[in-house]
């Protein structure tokens, strides 16, 4: 009893000692996260929240500008060999927050860590996609780390050798997995690396002043030693993890938050508010139709189903978050072509909602199959929006296509991924988010035998185009490559291999005195370097 009293007294004293929080300075931006940072280690992190915080405090060779194009950051100048295989980066004179200079070896060390099988980074494949010499072999344990095609010529010169000329290589360098890491600093942290402000070395616009693993509050301050510090207007950023969307919105209304993400019905409530904004995200949601299921191997049946539901209604009535109907397999605002235009600006659209045409395909398909009715189950993860969309699809399909019966099967996302990967499903509502700004980040998924080709669709001509566009001859001719990718997309769509449903939009509220936050659909989603809070 006595000890318990003592404990309570102690707790009370500790609580009182903590005192009141100091008032936040005017130039500190208060931002909501809806999930904790999973890791501040750039080579380990895999999620958007971690990427956002890392990119605020660490800068790589290139960063994205407001329009989403790569611009030099730590790289002062870049020269490319004529064959497009050797990149030589000359680094700017910049320093880490521990005072040490940022050197070419910091990149070599970080990238070796990325592909090191002992580190087992979940994003190691991105070094292979970048085409860095021997990246895939090292990740598979077939070559030593030293064989990686990234070499520090001297402190200011980094040479990167590629296996193939990757057209989006510079763009990929903005991806957080390629952020630098000082070997000396990393080793000095022991096994505590990236777990506290002291063990996170920063060279970006901000430095970490408050952080612990899975923290609910993360505080960043302006980095006075940042090479571009004069352009950084904010005094800092304060991230607050709030998972309950109603509480988040109340905090926003109370003035404790400057940026908040809306969920579900809130979007409808606030969509006319002047501080409301729609942000286009990169995620494409689509239905995967397993072609090993009786009936779904028939292209007419697939073409019927892909056209038979009202996509506009999914976006406008079900989601209401700024999502747009998807009549394509490669989303908007993802990639810019050799012509300087967005991929979608010159590519055709496919599989638009057309219930009459759907019915024609349906009747033809049924006749070919010699049946009068079909019934399928649709697997869907147990989130509110996914279930709502699935129920709408079911109603529309059953209404438009006579003889079709759909049963919805809800399960946790991890489970859905498993059954779809194993092919133990008929129809599945799924999504894909882009890893880099090129159509192949989507199109490669649907090549024969690919893990994400859950529908088991196969077209050898398609496989050839994608192979050539990623590792082959087409990489040498950007213009021809671009056209070939459009042709490949047309093949997926003509076969209705997937039924595109919508491209995800995010609804956010941003205080009217805040401007200059840059939103991107690939890699780092929100950039604050140029943000201003008046």
């Amino acid at each position: 009893m006595k000890n318990r009293n003592k404990l309570l007294a102690l707790l009370l004293v500790i609580a009182l000692c903590m005192g009141a929080a100091p008032a936040l300075a005017g130039g500190v931006l208060n931002v909501q996260f809806d999930v904790e940072i999973a890791s501040m280690d750039p080579q380990i992190a895999t999620d958007g929240t971690s990427f956002e915080a890392q990119s605020a405090v660490i800068e790589g060779l290139y960063i994205l500008d407001a329009a989403g194009s790569p611009i030099p950051a730590i790289a002062e100048s870049t020269s490319v060999s004529e064959d497009g295989l050797t990149y030589t980066f000359t680094l700017r004179d910049t320093v880490w927050s521990n005072g040490a200079p940022v050197t070419a070896n910091d990149f070599v060390f970080a990238w070796r860590r990325l592909v090191d099988p002992a580190v087992a980074s979940e994003y190691s494949f991105i070094a292979g996609i970048a085409g860095i010499h021997n990246a895939d072999k090292i990740a598979a344990g077939e070559e030593p780390l030293e064989a990686l095609g990234a070499v520090a010529i001297d402190d200011h010169t980094l040479e990167v050798v590629l296996d193939i000329p990757v057209p989006y290589f510079i763009n990929l360098l903005t991806f957080p997995s390629f952020l630098p890491l000082s070997e000396e600093f990393y080793l000095s942290c022991g096994d505590r690396f990236a777990t506290s402000p002291e063990t996170i070395n920063c060279n970006g616009a901000f430095i970490v002043t408050e952080y612990e693993p899975a923290a609910n509050t993360i505080v960043l301050a302006k980095n006075p030693d940042y090479y571009d510090a004069e352009k950084v207007a904010l005094d800092g950023i304060r991230y607050q993890v709030i998972k309950d969307s109603q509480q988040a919105m109340l905090s926003y209304q109370a003035g404790d938050l400057d940026v908040v993400t809306l969920a579900g019905e809130q979007v409808d409530l606030f969509k006319d508010d002047p501080e409301f904004q729609n942000i286009m995200a990169g995620y494409l949601w689509y239905v995967s139709a397993n072609e090993q299921t009786a009936g779904l191997e028939n292209a007419n049946i697939r073409n019927a189903m892909a056209r038979a539901f009202d996509k506009q209604a999914v976006a406008d009535n079900i989601l209401k978050d700024g999502s747009i109907p998807a009549d394509f397999a490669v989303p908007k605002l993802l990639a810019t072509g050799p012509d300087g235009l967005d991929y979608r600006a010159t590519a055709a659209t496919y599989l638009a909602t057309d219930k009459e045409l759907a019915l024609e395909y349906w009747n033809t398909g049924l006749a070919e199959l010699g049946v009068s009715s079909l019934s399928y189950s649709l697997v869907v993860e147990d989130t509110e929006s996914a279930i709502n969309v699935a129920q709408f699809l079911k109603a529309q399909w059953e209404d438009t296509l006579p003889g079709l019966t759909i049963t919805i099967e809800q399960m946790p996302k991890k489970n859905r991924l498993d059954v779809m990967r194993e092919g133990e499903f008929e129809l599945g509502l799924t999504r894909w988010g882009p890893d880099y700004a090129d159509p192949t980040t989507y199109l490669e998924n649907w090549t024969t035998g690919h893990t994400n080709n859950t529908m088991r669709w196969s077209n050898l001509e398609y496989d050839e185009i994608i192979a050539s566009a990623t590792k082959g001859e087409l990489t040498l001719d950007p213009v021809a490559r671009w056209e070939a990718l459009k042709a490949a997309e047309a093949m997926v769509m003509a076969d209705a291999a997937i039924y595109p449903v919508y491209q995800k939009g995010d609804a956010v509220m941003i205080k009217s005195n805040v401007s200059g936050i840059e939103f991107h659909s690939v890699g780092t989603n929100r950039v604050y370097k140029n943000a201003v809070k008046e």
Partner: protein
Amino acid sequence: MHKYILRRIGIAALTLLAILFILFALMEFMPGSPFNDEKLSAAQRALLDAKYGLDKPMPTRFINYVINMLRGDFGVSYNISKNTPISDLLKTRLPISLRIGGQAVLLGAVVGLLLGILAAIKHNTILDPLLTVISVLGISIPSYVFALGLSYVLGFQLGWFPMLYRQQQALQSSVLPTISLSMFTMATVARFARTEMLEVLGSDYMQLAETKGVGGFALIFRHALRNALIPIITVLAPLIVGLMTGSLVIEKIFSIPGIGQLLVQAIQSNDYNVIAVLSFLYSLMYIGIMLVVDILYGVIDPRIRLTKEANTVHE
């Protein structure tokens, strides 16, 4: 008494081991794995499984885990906070959950008792039915409804307390979660205290005490309350356990970096080690509280202690 306690502790330890084994078995049957993100290829998943020893059969993993646990190594988180030792996560989160839970028990028990006693003493006035209505509301309204209501009124509209938990304002910002959490305990204790007090107040020995001139405060607190306390402690134990589950929702609403929130997230992301440690911890608390309650009976009521001792001797 000592032998009895030792035996109870022994049984508790074996129960915990069995719980841990069942947990491992259940996680084995859980769909998915920590590493089945859509971005990962089969080779990468195999690499990650090997790195964390997930490629080994369940019994081996269980034995390894128990051995490591005895050494104080609870493993690392796979998803929530990648590669962070779980002991690190607990170090900051467990005290917060315990503190808010403790505050809620204290508030609930004390206020509940006072309300119950008040209702019993003022048995024949309007106060009694009024307090009964309040406690029925307290029992039937879920804690998260209180949480959202309190947060909206006292936090947002009146601005008296912070809406979200802040480490720098640990006391002020724990007021709303504490009240929301304590409601159920408060109402239940109040109801029990009222019934027990009424019974005790009507008993012969109380009337005797009253005629002997023991009056007012001493009569209620020294004589009546002590006798009314035993059944109340019996209900308090499961209530404390109930608080732990209530904290899962309350922590989410007030953004409290505690272990309740961690458990929910761990289950959603198949973060095996976090699930194992936290479920183990909850079981430990449950069994521990039951043990303490059993021992407390003896302290409060000598009759129970004597009977138990007699039983132990006979065995």
